[in-house]
Each structure stands twice: as C-alpha cells, then as structure tokens.
Amino acid sequence: MPSTQLETPQLATDLRDLAQDIVRRATKAGATAAECVVREGDEFCTLVRLGQVETLKESGSKSIGVRVFFGQRAASTYSSDFSQEGLDRMLKSALELAKITSEDPFAGIPDASQLGQLEGDLDLYHEDVYSLPGPDRIDYARRAEKAALDFDPRIKNSEGGSFDAATGHKVLANSQGFVGEYKRSYCSVAAVPIAQTEDGAMQRDYWFSVARTLKKLDPPEQVGRIAAERTLRRLGARKVKTAHVPVVYDPMVATSILEHIFEGVNGDSVYRGASFLAGKLGQKIAGENVTIIDDGTMPGGFGTSPFDGEGIPTRRTLVVEKGVLSSYLLNTYTAKKLGLKTTANASRGLAGTPGIGPGNYFLQPGPRTPKQLIGDIKEGLYVTEFLGHGANLVTGDYSRGASGMWISGGELAYPVEEITVAGNLKEMFFNISEIANDLEFRGSVASPTLRIDGLTVGGE
C-alpha cells in the first residue's frame, strides 16, 4: 500500500547520497526546488546466427540528471561524467539555464503530501538474469535458433537467436525530502527465422519470451518453434482486393489500439487539445465491452515501480470503464493544468520535463477464445503485423500497412501482405465488436485478441 513515509531506505547506496547531495547543493545555490535522478544499468546481449556466435556485447553505464526551479522557472541538465568537476558543471549549467525559461504558473515538483512509495517487495529484481555463465547464455540463443531452423526444411536462413539480460537501478531525490530507489531486472530470448519458397520469395517473422527472472522465461525451444510457425504461415502471401470486412487483431498488434487510446488520454495531449478524447471525461468513447486499466502496482509487472518519475506512489487507475472514459493519465503538471489530481504516471528521463508513461496498461479480456472470434467471420482479415505509424490522434484518422492471414469461412485461409487497414479511431473504439479471453503480458501494454468492424482493407 502507498505510504508517505520517506525514511527507511531499502538500500543504502552511494548513488542515493549523491542524488540527495545534488539536491541540497541546488537549493543552497538559490533554487527554490530541485530534483535529481541517477540511473545505472548493465546489459548483456548475445546473438547467434546459423549456429555461430555473431555478437557478444557486455557493458554498464551510469548517468545523472538534475532539474531546478527558481519559483516558476525550470531547467534541467544531465551528464555521464561523475567527477566532481563534471557534477559541478552540470549543476551550474542548470542554475544558469533556469534564467532563460518562462514563468509557468503550473510548474513545480509535487507537494510533500503526495510523495511516497509502495512498500514491500514488488518482485522486480532477480539477480539470476545475470547469473548464467557466458557459454550458457550463448546456448540459450543457440537453442532458440536451432529449434526454428530444425522445425521445417523451408526455414533456410535466419537473422539469429538471441539472449539478452539487463539490470537497471534508478534513484530519485527531491527538495521536498523524497528519496527513493529501485532495481529492475530483465531477460529475454528470441528467434528470427527466415523461410523461403521454391521460387525464392522470403518471409521473416519472430517470437520471443521476456521475464524479470530466468525462471519465468519460456524454454528457448518453445520460442524457436513458435517463431518458425509464425514465419512459415506467411509463405506465399498475396495481395487482396480492396474490401470492407471485419478485422481481427492478434494480441501483439492489438496493443497498438491500446497505445492509441493511451496517446489520446495522455494529459499532455489533453490539455493542448491535441487529442480527440480531450474533454470526453465521463462520456462514452467506446463500446460497453471495453474496460481499460492502468496499474503500476502489480508485483513482477513490466510496468511496475514503487513510485513514478516524480516520487509519487504508483496506483491502479480505471481509464475506461464499460466504454466510458473515467480518467486521463496524468503527471503533476498536466493534472494542475486540467484541475485534476495526478494519476502517478510521470515518466522521467534524464533531461527535460517529466512525460507521461503507462504502468501495466491493459484491456480486460472477454469470455470467448480467439478461435471462436475468427469462427464467426465469413470473410475478413487477421492482422499479425503492422508497418508504419499511421494514426493521427488529433483527427482520429487511421491508416497503416498490414500483413496477416485472410479469414474465409471462419478459418485462417491464406497469408496476405502489401495491404492497408484504414478507418477513424473515433469510430473504431466503438466498433471493437468483440474481445477474446487471451490476455497475456509480454510488456507493459497488453491486449487480448480483438475484432474491429467497419474498416477499409486497401489492396488491389
């Protein structure tokens, strides 16, 4: 549960002291408020191609950023140089830079009463991601690729199998007395096979597993097999005639619809009127079957953290409830602009003002299986990949390149490519006619399979 208690450091580290020291020095130099972020990370990547190691990469890095306020003026600086000289220069530049920014009545760090962090173990960090000896890491990558290559003789080439691991450590301190830190770990295994038909036409697809601990990673063989199946089913893809048919989004591409809604309810787009969802709070924006939740508190989640980018405890927010827009997603600044309370979705990079990012952001599943959804459709499109980013949240206009499978008689009939899917998001959200039961988190944004009606499939 959220707590506003600021003491009891979980891990006493030098970085924690450093961040607090920078904040102290900034305020001593005249800043009315200050905030410091320190980030430290390690990464390991290995890529095996056609059975041979192609790339090994291993490194760590560290960086620090500070944001200072003089009343309602703010500026930020960052550095990868942790020498006394480097830190002095960073601080001095921030104090100088704040002189040229404008008085913004809404600028500032959160009130002390809002600050705090979730207590207890959020299950975000497992040292085991880094525990595998070098040869075993390579073996993970090799096994994933081999399973794909061995799956079918038409898989003749590959962009490789990979195993990556990373850990990150983040510290945040501010002049309201907040200091917090957390570590997160991550590992993944992936395969990218290439299949070829006799006439030489090639198709590529991929599959992956990602987890915070090795224990939860899918076996590399399973990843390789799925990658092979996904690639093989694309062979012989053709264009189709332009048509108005139901479109089924597989879970990987369905997350893009959730991302468009995220962009539309993001406080930054809302206060500028850069989203057609601005001003729609309490109104229906989608069908009754659509419920969307953002939850930064789920133990082990890819979008979980004990506090947001401004030091506010993360929370669970009902964004869309049965089709009604119940909350925007906000940080302190956009909340003040809109006369609302922050939803603890501040995301903080090293530089600049905090943005807005998702926690674990997902669409509630429905009752039926994806197979049943497809079974309902006489003629339609099952999309497995989008190309390009053709969504305009100001107008709702939506047009993207796509590939996938043609649905005929309730079955996936043949692969299709070089087509477009177009419509307008304002209508599309209402036309999500069905949501399947296959919700699975493969990242911080997750969606079940879904069906959208009323779209134009552009082809020949």
């Binding site: 890095s61 990868s80 040229i100």
Partner: protein, 493 residues
Amino acid sequence: MGKSLEKQSLTAKQRFFFDHYGITEKDLQSYLAAALSAGGDYADLYFEYLSSTSLMVDESMVKSASQGISAGCGVRVVSGERTGYAYTDDLSASRILHAARTAALIASAPAKTPVAGFQKTAARSLYPVTLPSVDAEIIAKVELVMRGDKAARAYDPRIQEVRASYSDELRNILVVASDGTFAEDSQPLARLNVSCIAKTDGNSARGSSGGGGRVALDFFFGEKTPEYFAKEAARQAILQLDAREAPAGEMEVVLGPGWPGVLLHEAVGHGLEADFNRKKTSAFAGLIGKRVASEKCTVVDNGTMPWRRGSLNVDDEGEPTQETVLIEKGILKGYLSDKLSARLMGIADTGNGRRESYEHIPMPRMTNTYMLAGQDNPEDIIRSVRRGIYAVNFGGGQVDITNGKFVFAASEAYMVEDGQITAPIKGATLIGNGPDVLTRVSMVGNDLKLDEGVGTCGKDGQAVPVGVGIPTIKVDRLTVGGTARKDTGGFMQ
C-alpha cells in the same frame, strides 16, 4: 607502414581527446593490444564526447530547457564473422582496458599485435562552422523558438496550439583501429521545428515543419528562419481542416520533390545495406546487375554534401564518406557497406559504417539518399494522371527488408482527376514492394530537391540522422490506404 601520429600536425579541434582526457598514442596502442589479446582480425576504439541543448516553447512560454553531456568509449573486436563489443562511460585507462578485455572474449586464439603507428585519415571539411551552435548564446536560441511560436499564431486565428522546439549537439569523435586507422571529427547538428494545431467548431488538424543540418546557428537567422517553418506548419494544419477522405486501392501516385524521397530510403535504401545482403536476408540479395527500376531512375547515397544532416566527413569507423551509385538507369549497381561487410563480401568499403553512440556496434547505414533529376516538367507529370493522388508531404516510413514490403505515410496529399489537382485528402499510408516499385516510375521531374533536414533513421534500435531527396516522380501503380468507399469493390459484410 603509414605516417606516425607524432609527425602529423594536429589542430586544436582534432586533439580533443588528447587535450581533455590526456590520452596519448601509446595509450591507444595499449588499448588495442588488450582488445586483440585473445586474437581476432581487427579491433577498434570509438571515443565520443557529445554535448547537446534543447529548448521548447509551448503556450508561448519557454517551458523546457535542457543541456547535457555524454561521453564514453566503445571497444570492438572482430574475429571472422564474430563481433565482441564493450563500452565504458568512464574514460580512465583502467575502465577502457577492462572494456577491451571484455570485448576480446569473442576471440580465442593467441594474441595479435596492432600495426605500429597510425595513419591519419585525410578528411573533408563538410561543415566548417566557426562557432558550433551548442556553444552559441542560449538567448539567441530562445529567440528562434519564440519567433516560431509567434509566426505560427499570426498565420491564422484558427491556429490555436503551437509548439516550437530547437535542439543542437556537437559530437566530437576519435576512431582508432588495429589496422592503423586514426580519424577525428567534430560533428555539429541543429534542428528547429514548429508544430501546431488548427481548430474550428468541431474540427481539428495538425501541421508540422522543421529543418536544419550540420550548420551553425546563423543558418536559422538567414536561410531557413523560424517564420519559414512556422508558416509551413500552419499552412498544413489549415489545409487539413478541409481534407476529404483518401481513396483506397491501387492507383497512380505522383510524389512531390524533397522529403517524399523517404520512398527511396524505405523501398530500396535499407534493402541495399550490405549486412542484409551478406546474410542474404534482403529481398535485394543477388540482384546486382539486374533491373530493379525504370530506365529513368538513378539513385545515389551521398555522404559528402556540405552542411547536410546526413553528411559526415568520416563515418563512425573512420572511413571517409563518398557518393555511391545504388541504381544507375534502373540497374542495381551496389550496396552500402561498412568495414565488416566489405571484408566478408570482398567488396569496397563505401564509408557507410555508422552507429548511434559509443554504446552501439556500427553497421551499414544510409547518409543522404536521393534520385537524380530527370527530364520531365513537373506540371506535365500532374497533367498525365487520369485518377490518382499527388503526395507532397510525408511522415515516416518503415520496411520489412526480407519480403521487401514498405510503407510511407502521406501527411499532405491531393486528389488528381483528369490531370487536375482537385481537393486535399486526409493522411494515408502508401504501401508497395521495394524491388519492383521503381520499375513503375514512368516520369521523373527536372526538379530534384533535398529535404529540409529532419530525417532520423532507426535500425536495430539505433537512431542516426539522414537525408533524402527526390524530384517529382510518377509511379503508375501503388496502393493507397484510404477509407473512401466509392470506387471500391470487394466484400461488404
């Protein structure tokens, strides 16, 4: 071997890492020796010191200002087709040696010795700024964004939201390699952008415009002013208020000059990067000498254009950049290569080895990619269209290099009916097949234009600045991803 470093007279700018970090030639030799301590064919070190500034005006207030510094060194060891890589953001000898020994783990053979003595790469001077913009007075940059904001608002009362942003950087690099390569460069980059939203009762639209290059700050006070970009952004937003639905299906497409060259970047550029062709994962693999475009098409990649965003004096492996012909009169001529692919494929290194930063492994990337001008008059090209679209502005694009399918999204386009431009249409994605889209180019204009300097290309998670360009061209058949129902056949359900 080549001339040793001590015999060269280095300018102050070229001695950046020697002066700031006390690095000596002897140090560099010892780091390379550590990198090759377990064998390997080649090792290199990439030192980078990047300083940057960014400013943003929103609601006519300077809401955000930031500055930062990032420095580090990446060590690469290549053994056959294998690459080991490690980096450090601490430029002390012990950390660089540690990175070198980590990268060395890729090889497992007796130690090798780097060549004694470095040979300095003779570099061009494509962006000789006297005062890099990062070092210029911040107040002048504030003036730019404030002017951008003001000009966009003044354009039309319907322009109600404006954001103007400015960013610049100066990247000092030093590349040294076990083959004796020694190259330094100081690479400025600046960009100004204005975006806005036009609103009427119940209708909104957005517009955006920007540009820059490897230029000094005076570029934005002389050649391309904030007012220039602001008016363009505002014009687009107002125009889009009245846009009608875009058509769907295959039709004739005319691309306007300049940024629509993003077509070339996606449709052919990526597919011709040598790494994909070495691995035979590109739809263009094995097509050298074959026809991939109509006779009217000649496409080049040119990293040597003064002041351009995609240009470099030397690439990120220390090779001088060059002009490389990719397609000549429709025939595929060559690939874009880096050191690794050049060696493994037995082809020349075209100086296209690039990386996002010291944390990244270099790979073949484009610089400025464009089609040479043809003979046709742009007006004749429009007049020749029976029914199609004329697309003059685009957002980004994307390509699947293995099956060759690519998209690029038109943000400003018009219907063309019986040779006449009729009405503006809403944004739509265009999709095609890289290896054959250019075979359907039937007319090429005499009006080649390069883009304003806004392109950033992503590949394997690495972003690098690039340029594109194209004259007005006509593609006889391309799929347009609109929504308009008229003229569309097929299934209705």
